[in-house]
């Protein structure tokens, strides 16, 4: 489904700020794989996400979706296949538009936008049904401006908007990190639910090790621009945080040291 072949990204080449963000990274996601990605700051997780979504172009190597090289396609062109939920709850929705209008925008992912009316009764009914999945009462607030929603509600809406058109690939970029623990858990559970229901191929970056273990069928750990650990579905069940820390120490010969990593 998603193939990343020998991807390298070098920022600020030949300057004092030169940084090798990704170094010859290979990753292959099978259909309906749900891969969680952990790693310390500067490990290259965000760069990887940005390369897949088309925000950044790889300096070497290529990205394939369904066997087609997409290196040359811009972010908005790749969005036909790739959906994304950002860390910032404000990033995924348009605050001065209503919930229904936001969903209508999301509904046309991969389709041409024309001068047809953006909303009609049928669509509103469909959106209402979809919102019921979230179970937080948004289905009764179709005409409310999104700017009035709380961070958690907005993130739940972002998640629905990213997923209900069943994109080929879902990228989750620490999408629960900016929420309080109870909201984060809600979004975490919703994520598990919609990914399963829509059968989405998913790549999720997280700083929460417990979440990385709890969600998904495969786990990778990145460090200094490389994938240093790839735990397959067979071994992921029964994995604990201690196992991960132990493994990291064994591979790198040093303790995992990052204030932002949440163990548990």
């Amino acid at each position: 489904m998603l193939e990343i072949n020998h991807v390298t990204k070098l920022f600020n080449a030949n300057t004092v700020d030169e940084k090798l963000a990704l170094s010859n990274v290979n990753l292959n996601l099978a259909p309906s794989d749900f891969v969680t990605v952990i790693g310390s700051n500067g490990a290259g997780k965000s760069t990887l996400m940005n390369i897949i979504s088309g925000v950044l172009k790889p300096d070497d190597g290529n990205v394939k979706i369904d066997g087609v090289v997409v290196n040359k396609l811009h972010e908005h062109q790749r969005s036909k296949w790739i959906a994304r939920v950002f860390q910032d709850p404000m990033a995924g929705t348009s605050p001065n538009m209503t919930i229904a209008e936001n969903l209508s925008i999301a509904y046309l992912r991969g389709h041409k936008r024309t001068l047809k009316r953006g909303l009609n009764k049928e669509k509103k009914l469909y959106f209402k049904e979809q919102l019921e999945r979230l179970g937080i009462g948004l289905e009764n607030r179709l005409n409310a401006n999104v700017g009035l929603l709380s961070g958690g509600e907005r993130q739940a809406l972002s998640l629905l908007m990213a997923t209900f058109t069943k994109p080929k690939i879902l990228l989750l970029d620490e999408h629960t990190a900016a929420l309080d623990p109870s909201r984060a858990e809600l979004i975490s559970n919703l994520t598990e639910k919609v990914v399963k229901e829509f059968n989405l191929t998913t790549l999720m970056v997280t700083h929460n090790m417990a979440q990385a273990i709890q969600l998904g069928n495969r786990l990778i750990m990145m460090d200094k621009g490389q994938i240093i650990m790839d735990i397959p579905p067979s071994k992921k069940k029964g994995l604990t945080v201690e196992d991960l820390l132990h493994e990291f120490a064994a591979i790198k010969g040093e303790e995992l040291n990052d204030d932002r990593v949440v163990l548990g």
């Binding site: 908005h76 969005s79 959906a83 990033a91 925008i105």
Partner: protein, 308 residues
């Protein structure tokens, strides 16, 4: 009687400036793009239509050509910003300056009189101006409302609201920005074409300060009539443009110097921008003090919770 006549005149003129204000609303409010092109494109619309009318073209065709000329200017501003990566304010300023020369080229001289020529207003029977023009203007407003509720309209609105989001759903924001700025300047230019025909001439300097007048109309309208929905917001802009003209007419009636008008306009905009902020911060402060009282009332003098 004289006052009434002045009032009538200001409403008539205000109606013609509505399209300009709607144009500024599109760029400034919907796209969040402070576009200074309008100072030039207003005159471009006036110049193109005036010259075409003197060459014998039908006034309606001349007016629509004004729209197209403005839209072309807006397209270039949009291209400068999106493809040329020039800051939005600067792309507008550059275009505004360029248009000054272009407008002179179009007219061949700084002023094109239209006295004795037939204009779009010639078609209106005497005394029906304030009956027919408002209907036409409202139709324009409703068409704009409808457009902003299409799929493309949604994409346009989201572009001004959250570019990152709308890109992630497959919209090329360069295109929506160019489209929006083109439409905005088209409306501004058409407004210029109407004003030129109303006053009987196109003049090279008639667009000076137009952006501020447009902003004043948008802000006054929003402040008085509210802007919760698109329908309400465009209605507010429509009425705001008329109210602005009435304010200016009243200022003139009070023997204010016509040379000071631009200064007054600037002051209105400044006041309209600052007052709501002050009002808001006063409101917040009051709410906070109330809350402090509330919180304090639940603890006794030694800091213990009285409900515990």
């Amino acid at each position: 009687m004289y006052l009434l006549k002045a009032l009538e005149g200001s409403i008539e003129l205000g109606l013609l400036y509505v399209l300009m204000a709607l144009g500024v609303y599109i760029s400034f409010r919907i796209l969040d793009f402070p576009d200074l092109t309008v100072d030039g494109s207003f005159t471009t619309g006036a110049a193109v239509s005036a010259v075409m009318i003197t060459y014998g073209y039908a006034p309606f065709i001349a007016t629509f050509s004004g729209f197209l000329a403005g839209a072309a200017a807006g397209t270039i501003t949009g291209l400068l910003h999106t493809k040329g990566k020039i800051n939005n304010l600067l792309s507008g300023i550059v275009m505004m300056i360029a248009l000054y020369s272009i407008n002179l080229r179009i007219m061949g001289k700084p002023n094109t009189p239209l006295f004795g020529e037939s204009t779009v207003f010639s078609a209106i029977p005497d005394g029906y101006f304030l009956f027919i023009v408002p209907i036409v203007i409202v139709i324009f407003k409703l068409i704009l409302d409808a457009f902003l509720h299409t799929d493309i309209g949604f994409a346009l609105r989201a572009t001004g609201d959250n570019q990152r989001m709308i890109r992630s759903f497959g919209v090329n924001t360069d295109s929506t920005i160019i489209l929006g700025i083109a439409l905005s300047n088209g409306l501004v230019a058409m407004s210029g074409a109407l004003v030129a025909q109303y006053q009987g001439f196109a003049d090279i300097s008639m667009g000076v300060g137009m952006i501020v007048i447009g902003l004043a109309s948008v802000i006054i309208g929003e402040a008085i009539f509210g802007h919760k929905t698109v329908f309400r917001a465009t209605l507010a802009v429509l009425l705001g443009a008329i109210v602005y003209r009435m304010v200016i007419a009243s200022a003139l009636q009070l023997n204010m110097n016509a040379e000071d008008l631009k200064l007054i306009t600037a002051l209105i905009v400044v006041a309209a921008l600052i007052l709501p902020k002050i009002q808001k911060s006063i409101g917040q402060k009051r709410k906070m003090l109330e809350r402090i009282k509330e919180v304090n009332s639940t603890v006794d003098s030694k800091g213990r919770d009285i409900n515990a």
